[in-house]
């Protein structure tokens, strides 16, 4: 009984990670791997501004294909950057979680590329969440240990929905830009560009 629950858990976790990896890209600037990115939409990658310092970058998709990308928007205050590339055929893009609000203690999965690893996963829980009626916090705080290569990659729930973009570690906590804030930023900033 206990063994089958743990076994099922391991299997489902591996499946959720595999699904998330498909919506995660590698970001390279001037030939160097600089971080991760979320395949937000067809031809659109969201990452951290600190991951892409120049105007151009190369993204590498889950299936190994690389594509040149250009930075179309950057927000240093939020540490976000939007990259556009020419999509080749159909591709998976991230599912964003708008609701319900995050709960403290909920499991979260982060995907990134620390060191020479591609598509590494880290498991943790939500450390702090917004309270009803309060202004939305700037960061999601997660109790999960991330290395630098996780920057710009997804923080997702157990259903594989993106809840945030991993940005930095502070005081042992992972800080991620909430997916709702990213979505609002993409709607505001990106729409005129692709129009």
């Amino acid at each position: 009984m206990t063994a089958s629950v743990a076994g099922g858990l391991a299997h489902e976790l591996a499946a959720a990670v595999e699904q998330l990896r498909r919506a995660t890209v590698q970001v390279r600037t001037r030939g160097r791997a600089t971080g991760a990115g979320v395949l937000w939409d067809a031809g659109l990658v969201i990452t951290n501004a600190h991951v892409v310092r120049g105007e151009r970058a190369t993204i590498e998709l889950y299936d190994g294909t690389a594509a040149p990308a250009r930075v179309v928007r950057r927000d240093l205050r939020r540490d976000l950057a939007a990259l556009e590339f020419e999509p080749s055929g159909a591709m998976v893009s991230a599912v964003i979680r708008d609701a319900p609000p995050l709960r403290v203690g909920e499991l979260v999965i982060a995907i990134g590329h620390p060191g020479n690893l591609v598509g590494a996963a880290a498991l943790g829980i939500i450390h702090a969440a917004e309270r009803a009626g309060e202004r939305r916090p700037r960061w999601i705080q997660a109790d999960v240990r991330l290395a630098p290569g996780f920057s710009g990659g997804p923080l997702a729930d157990t259903a594989g929905r993106i809840v945030g973009v991993n940005t930095m570690m502070q005081g042992g906590l992972a800080l991620a830009v909430p997916a709702s804030a990213v979505a609002a930023w993409v709607r505001r900033a990106h729409a005129p560009v692709s129009a």
Partner: protein
């Protein structure tokens, strides 16, 4: 689609939510607040080291309101403090006292270093028998955690996956390493602090150092062990001084039990020993001598 993974996630969040209703923020120091738990109705348990003042202490309740509390007592030796909260309808923590946590068990540390509850997760890394803190208190079992701790978590509960409290977390007992004071110890300290306001502990006013007794002397005196305690300091006017303990005495036994380190001495100095004579067996001037020492109640903020 409900999966095992999603069920685990939901259950953890449920456990945090239900247990978090009994967790408050304690405002009794500068910078960030610490945490506390409503342990019994109207009784909040917190950590001694995060309470830097005896008055003007307030708590932030889970609903965001602030309420004044009064300090009922504190025990530096277990790093626990008890506060009284009047007139609030706050749930009381569900305690797990029937079965101890197991090594490898999934646990969550809760805190409320502000208006919102915070959580970190991990596993029990060590569960062991009773141990003694550096100030001499006996903790019923050693509970070590493999989890990350954050500012303000001291005084918060360690909970199991069902939201039941396993103890109070503190970074103030083992040089910043998080340990959990188990339910049984908290219960004992809360009861005594509510009754008396302090934890009675006996003390002798001696400093000791383990020494090896030379084999020839041990043979001559027909001693059983080879390690004893050299008295390296005697507090002026303290109980040991008053009863004739001399600097340089080598303590062999206390109350009929061999003493090999300071923990053996502390084990004989529970609160119930105050004023009750103990037989001390020492080597003095090459001879074995036995006499009585009577512990006094230890003044507060004194180590041994």
């Amino acid at each position: 689609m409900s999966t095992v993974l999603q069920s685990l996630s939901t259950e953890l969040a449920d456990a945090v939510e239900s247990a978090g209703r009994a967790v408050v923020a304690i405002h009794a120091r500068r910078r960030i607040p610490a945490s506390g738990v409503q342990w019994r109705p109207g009784v909040i348990v917190a950590t001694h080291h995060t309470i830097n003042r005896d008055e003007n202490i307030t708590v932030t309740l889970p609903d965001g309101t602030t309420a004044p509390v009064s300090l009922a007592g504190r025990d530096p030796s277990t790093d626990l403090a008890v506060l009284k909260l009047a007139g609030q309808n706050l749930p009381t923590a569900k305690l797990r006292s029937d079965s101890p946590p197991a090594v490898g068990e999934l646990v969550v540390a809760l805190g409320r270093p502000g208006p919102s509850v915070t959580a970190s997760w991990g596993v029990m890394s060590r569960v062991d028998g009773p141990w003694r803190t550096w100030q001499g208190a006996e903790i019923d079992s050693l509970l070590r955690l493999d989890l990350a701790i954050y500012d303000g978590f001291s005084g918060g509960p360690l909970i199991d996956a069902a939201g039941r409290v396993l103890g109070i977390n503190t970074s103030g007992l083992a040089r910043g390493v998080p340990v959990t004071v188990p339910v049984a110890t908290v219960e004992r300290v809360v009861t005594e602090l509510l009754e008396r306001g302090t934890i009675r502990r006996a003390y002798l006013g001696i400093g000791t150092q383990p020494v090896r007794v030379p084999e020839s002397l041990a043979r001559k005196l027909e001693l059983e062990g080879d390690v004893a305690l050299l008295i390296v300091s005697v507090e002026s006017g303290g109980p040991a001084d008053r009863d004739g303990v001399l600097l340089g005495d080598v303590l062999l036994e206390l109350d009929g039990a061999a003493v090999r380190d300071s923990a053996d001495v502390l084990a004989k100095l529970g609160g119930d020993r105050v004023g009750r004579p103990l037989a001390a067996r020492v080597i003095r001037g090459g001879q074995v001598k036995t006499f009585q020492v009577t512990p006094s109640e230890r003044p507060t903020s004194r180590a041994a």
